[in-house]
């Protein structure tokens, strides 16, 4: 098989495996983060649980996901599910802290002029929390790009396979090209995601760049 098209295939797999779990993770983390903020007694346990989840080694998580979720080994959902767990673990705190960054007098004013709780969350609190959440998304996405590569070593198609190939081709003498290509593509991919999130943040928060211009 043509190397270039194989590598491009790996790259594409890597892209969606990195991005989709963060998006799903954010969707799950939003209500959890809101809960941690709304009922403050839930904050410490939620942070402990998500913190512990993040400490599970990725390779172990990839292996135990199929039995836990009733999937067969090497199911295409195996890696996304595991990575979603990590994303949730990172983002619950980010969402809670983002909501906490909304000034008190702003939420009070919103309540006082007649926002319902849901409407206040959607049109006041979340927009103001965007910078904090975006910063968290950058961390989650970049960390996902590197975790996806680990899944390559258990045989899932993505840029991690290049490292696997590199290792196999390195006997008896070292052969670096696939490994270097894998590293370069991973770094470029992480950089591209980072730029996208920064741009998205800028687009969503024109008010943060507004400065006094008399």
């Amino acid at each position: 098989m043509d190397h270039r098209s194989e590598d491009l295939g790996f790259l594409w797999d890597h892209v969606w495996l990195s991005a989709v779990p963060v998006i799903i993770g954010l969707v799950i983390a939003l209500p959890l983060g809101w809960l941690a903020r709304r009922y403050t007694w839930t904050y410490p346990p939620l942070m402990s649980i998500t913190g512990l989840l993040y400490t599970i080694p990725s390779i172990a998580l990839f292996v135990i996901v199929p039995p836990l979720f009733g999937l067969k080994s090497l199911d295409p959902l195996q890696v996304p599910i595991a990575l979603t767990v990590y994303s949730v673990a990172l983002l619950v705190r980010v969402v809670a802290d983002g909501l906490a960054s909304v000034p008190d007098e702003v939420t009070q004013a919103a309540t006082a002029i007649g926002f319902g709780r849901m409407r206040r969350l959607v049109s006041v609190e979340l927009p103001i929390a965007v910078p904090v959440i975006a910063a968290g998304l950058r961390v989650a996405t970049v960390s996902n790009v590197s975790l996806v590569a680990v899944a390559g070593t258990i045989g899932m198609d993505n840029l991690g396979r290049l490292f696997d190939q590199g290792v196999q081709l390195s006997t008896p003498t070292a052969y670096y090209p696939p490994i270097v290509l894998g590293i370069v593509l991973c770094v470029l991919l992480a950089l591209a995601f980072d730029v996208l999130i920064v741009l998205g943040n800028r687009l969503l928060t024109p008010w943060r760049r507004a400065v006094i211009s008399q």
């Binding site: 007098e105 024109p206 008010w207 006094i212």
Partner: protein
């Protein structure tokens, strides 16, 4: 009309924030709740729009028990202004002002048009509309807060220490404009402050609350100064009560004396010639008094000018308006270097002078008449 009917707020830990408060805030007037920290004034205010629920008692708005209205619906009909304005940092000024009309589902274009009018009405230039709150000073933000509270044209406005986070000069400006605005819109306003001077300046009625949420006195500012209900109120209202009370009585029959004047820019020699006692009153082109100029009597002659320039004038004297208060007239006399207080007419032109003795004898005569 807003009516508190034996309203009590007791917290689970037993603290009583408001204790059997009964009072009425009349329609189209400003009722100020004032008192030291812990007197329950903010709690009382927040019970009106159900940000805080009373433990017992009822609050009526006209003939509607507020407990029977859903909080968001109730709040959209009540303007609310808080200390740091609480503007939405992510929305432009015009969108901040139009928030409540948007919430009420009103047509966006009409809401924006109304918001633009309000922005100008509270004294901000129209081009501020597209700015974000961070681009405005504290005083300007507070004006936007007032505009936002007025946007849906509520009958009632609640104001929680709206002017206390700005410097004294801006605060006085905001207070004056607030009174001017209220003269136009005539809302039913409940205003919370810890500053008795602000209460006396702004209130049609002032409710003094004591720690523990008990009403100590509800009265007009003049009554409060003239006849405090007890030692607590007297102490809280503070010193100089007799003098401050003079600020509420307007005087119509000031015996004005003529005074020679010179215009800014006249030759100094002219000024010296017409001066009576070493002092000459200087006015501008429109005849508005600018200040006293000392001529002769040992004052050092100005180095390199032979004209009456603004920087040569004595600036200490205040100017009282014809038809103003006894306090203003007396202050004009007391602050004048000549002992003759400067009085101006409706259009700001110099009208005549009055001495402290003359003002005091008017006060004497008035008090004798009411004894």
């Amino acid at each position: 009309m807003i009516r508190f009917e034996s309203v009590t707020k007791r917290y689970p830990d037993g603290t009583v924030a408001v204790d059997a408060l009964s009072l009425e805030a009349p329609s189209h007037q400003i009722t100020v709740l004032v008192g030291p920290s812990g007197c329950g004034k903010t709690t009382s205010l927040r019970m009106i729009n159900r940000m805080i629920e009373p433990t017992s008692g009822r609050i009526w708005i006209d003939d509607r028990d507020t407990a029977t209205v859903s909080p968001p619906e109730l709040r959209r009909g009540i303007g609310y202004v808080i200390q740091h304005a609480g503007l939405f940092p992510h929305r432009t000024i015009v969108d901040n002002v139009a928030t409540v009309p948007y919430l009420l589902g009103q047509d966006k274009r009409a809401a924006r048009k109304k918001a633009l009018e309000l922005i100008e009405r509270v004294g901000l230039p129209a081009h501020f509309a597209k700015r974000y709150p961070a681009q405005l000073s504290g005083g300007q933000q507070q004006r936007v807060g007032v505009a936002r509270a007025l946007a849906a044209d509520p009958l009632i406005m609640l104001m929680d220490e709206p002017f206390s986070a700005v410097d004294p000069v801006v605060r006085a400006e905001l207070q004056d404009e607030f009174l001017r605005l209220q003269a136009e819109v005539g809302k039913t306003i409940v205003f919370v402050t810890h500053d008795i001077d602000e209460a006396i300046k702004l209130g049609d009625h002032v409710a003094v609350l004591r720690v523990g949420g008990k009403l100590a006195q509800l009265a007009t500012p003049a009554e409060l100064l003239a006849d405090p209900a007890d030692d607590f109120v007297a102490g809280f209202v503070g010193r100089d009560r007799g003098y401050r009370a003079l600020g509420f009585e307007t005087v119509s029959d000031l015996p004005l004396s003529p005074e020679p004047t010179v215009a800014l820019g006249s030759p100094l020699a002219d000024a010296s010639r017409v001066a009576q006692d070493g002092w000459i009153l200087v006015v501008d082109d429109s005849g508005a008094p600018q200040g006293w100029l000392s001529v002769g009597n040992g004052a050092a002659p100005p180095p390199d000018t032979d004209q009456v320039l603004p920087e040569l004038l004595h600036r200490g004297g205040t100017v009282a308006a014809l038809g103003g208060s006894y306090r203003a007239a007396l202050d004009a006399a007391l602050s004048s270097p000549t002992g003759r207080g400067v009085i101006s007419d409706e259009s700001g032109r110099f009208a005549g002078t009055v001495t402290a003795t003359q003002v005091v004898s008017l006060i004497d005569a008035r008090q004798a008449a009411t004894r």
